[in-house]
Amino acid sequence: MKNVYFTLIISLFVILISCEKEIEFKGDSVQDLIVVNGVLEKDSVIQISLSVTKPSMGPDYFGQNQYLKSPANLILTDNTTGETFMSTMNSLSYYSFGTTAKSDHSYSINISHPDYLTASATTSIPQGVSIIDWDTSTINVSDYSSEKKLNLSWMDTGEENFYFVELFSIDTVYNQKNLLYIYSYKINEGTMNDGSSMLILKDDLFNNSLCQLSIKFNPDYYYDQNWVKLDEKSYKVVLHKVSKEVYNYYKSVSKINIGPFSEPVKVYTNILNGLGVFGGKSSTTLFFE
């Protein structure tokens, strides 16, 4: 009898309290857009990959609507020299141009496709940056664990500059690199900040002066089959000087936090009539142990 009452109460509760139904999506009709992945690396061949958006509602299977169904027409213009370049299609998604990205040059891209609005964007390639000084140290936190510290310095120039820093461990056995998490960092004599897998920096604190970046991370090791710690791996740090568009894009992406109570994030784009980013970067790599 008790179970009958319990079932009745639960049923009543479900009927009264939790009424769920499917409703029609009545958002503004949004046209599918071209998504541009175009971060041009200084002195490298200019390559751009394209994908397209897919509607949030309706059919959703793997890969659906993510790729162009026919080739797009891309025109790249070097605004500094006035030259224009036509693209070579490597696949429906990848396009390259017969030129390399030059520092301080401004570039515009124009992408047309019969199924989508014509997308366009402009950027410039930043000058390279040289690492002036660096050192590393290892601090034993306890008998079982240690942390590694890397100090890195470079000279910032007078204009507004943007950077991001990535740290990898290099596995020579499997010939691969692993992105490491930088758990804290500080600039010059400032306070320690919470880190991330990719530090995104603006030169507010060191404009036109020396930047001394100090990062802390957990060392990475080789292990044997029984997970016994062997030698420490070597490392690679990449300092990217990026255009404002790339900085804004990665800054907004870094805020994304998938969770039921997380605030929504509007991802930055500089693509007119499209999404993604068209920007430039100039990278400097340092290997250390």
């Binding site: 509602m57 992105l179 991330s196 897998s197 805020k255």
Partner: protein
Amino acid sequence: MRPFLFLTILLFQFSSFSQETKTIHGYVSSTKTGEKLISATLYDTLHKQGAITNEYGFFSLTVKNETTVLRISSFGFSTEMIEIKKEETEFNFNLTEIQEIEEFVISSERRSIEKTNIGTMELSMDKVDKLPVLMGEKDVLKILQLMPGVKSGGEGSSGIYVRGGGPDQNLILLDGVPVYNASHLFGFFSVFNSDALSQVTLTKGAFPARYGGRVSSVLDMRMKEGNNQKFNIEGSIGVIASRILIEGPIKKDKSAFIISARRTYIDAIVKPFLPKSNKGGYYFYDLNAKFNYKINNKHHLYLSGYFGQDKAEINQSETFENYQYRHTYTDKTGLNWGNAIAAIRWNYKISSKLFANTTFTYSKYLFKIYNSSEDSEYDNGVLTNSSYSFNYFSGIDDWTGKIDLTFLPNPNHTIKFGLGDIYHTFRPGVNTTSSNTNNETNSLVEGSDSQFAHEAYLYIEDEHKISKNLKINYGIHHSSFFVGDKIYNQLQPRISGNLILTDNSSLKFGYSRTAQFLHLLSNTGIGLPTDLWVPATEKVSPVTADQISLGYNHEIKRQYNFVIEGYYKKMNNLIQYKEGASFFSQNTDWQSKVEKGQGWSYGGEILLEKKKGKFTGWIGYTLSWTERQFDNINSGEKFPYRYDRRHDISVVMTYQLTKTWDFGIVFVYGTGNAVTLASQSFQLVPNENGFNSQNYNNIENVTSINNYRLPAYHRMDIGANRTRKKPYGESVLSLSVYNVYNRQNAYFIYKSFDVFTDKNTLKQVSIFPIIPSISWKFKFNFEQIKENKLNKKKQ
């Protein structure tokens, strides 16, 4: 400080009066209960001069020193005409309550067109009793949500959103003490027990200088004082809660008390159906108490308190045992939150023209989540004990001291001035974890540090009758907030006025600058008690707002009241969680998780009210726009506030069919709340490692924050009350049906993926379909019981 100096000099200038005048002063009280009457009017019929009692029932009227006749009236009481002889000055008037009130009005007898404060509404407590309500629980805040310019947060929410402001921007005062969390049951019911309230006034426009500390509205609620004439017991039994109120004299005409309590029994209803290994449940309670003592005609002392708490807890215990093994596990998880407030108030009639009210108050709000578990394992003679506990708590404590003075130099001026200090202690979210294994303990405390602040203020205002047709309330409020090494000073001018155009119409206007030193950090919008009260700090500035409003008020045959008002409000230094931030990540300081921005709200409100007759009620309509802008949210572009509601309509009607039966009907319609919903998704740009920084393949393309509207909200409630006289007093049986046509209003929506059809759809969750309820209210009349006994004996 110059304006204060000027006003103080002005104040003393008023004191010089001709020897030909006299000041009639005293209190107006109810004959039946002895309680002081607020806003009762006194009118000198000979000299055509009037006065109104203040919030403590005190009046002062300076007239020519000759015999005259005073007319004294108050809503719900019979009007008295009293002859005042020459040289007579001090009086305590008693008015008799009318048994059958034919009028069902928003305001008291004082005509709406005569009031200076634009956007002010006085709520008759009769209304709370007569209208249909959810689950039979009378709720003043839900009635206020039916007024134009006041919006609810959504289905079932008891929070109020006034003219584009957040729920934290309302100064909710219970007997002059601020209440921080005004909701029970996750926002479905307010904490105010309507049985214990005597007056509720909401000011949503330019509020007078005596109020400070919030930028959107003032909700001033006064508790009953307690009947100093006779004992009274009343109560009600409802579907989910019951309540009782006891009041009576301690010493007749001298002192009285009132105690009211309410408790839900959801826990008791659910208990028989819980598995044996589980205990716990959910309940909330309220306790209001007040004691007043009249020391003499000049001094009056009041003590009042409110204690309320919500508690939800689940206890689990399991034991597994065999030959040489025993494992016992216990777990306790719960959350509780509540307010505790206490006030001591001293009324001192310094002279016939000067009245002082000195108050000391304490207000506390605490929210706590806890989990503790114990594990005990006995295996082959070896005993292992371990335990774990987690506590998260946040809260705010206020100690306040203030003095408010009312100076009535002549019938053309009512000057109020005063000062006070609030000492705040903020605890904006602290986690403590502790684990113990075989007597080895590890503890960790993380979160935001407690913050301490002083909020000192002073104000002066004058209700100035410039001419027969023009009355202006002007004043200035200055507050200083001391937090850390920072001092914020805010000078806040206020002005509102009333120009009587004809016998039946008036034009009202107002401007106010307001400042608020507290923020409510919220990202759920559903009234979860996890919302944090945080102070203005060195990094986060106080909120300021400027509002202008203009209104027109027209009365038709003193039966219908028509009000149209327009307003424009600009808010600065609002805070909101940063993009991607979540209140769950409490281990970082809250200041690093917020953005500062600004907001705008503008619109118009219409109220058409029928005040008299068997059929009464009102229609309210609001047309409004509310926007927010933060430099680092939504690419710095403006976006609609979550509660930006273009249209908001409420229709409220009551009909007194007979002396026994009355009926009520409520219809509400509102544009759906604004939420963020992406219409498409896209792939992120990968980084050097082949993945993007967050390793997300697909990301929702949020074109704009709060770009999507929930379906429009509407529902109709109906109710009926049967009131019958009984030998013991009175019995009221209330039947109500909430959401009579079973509208499924959206509580929230979400995107759902169906694995069978590989399709994304939009789902809506509703919580309150049609809900019938019944409640029974009783009232004991001891005089009637005694009379009945005597009659029986005589027979």
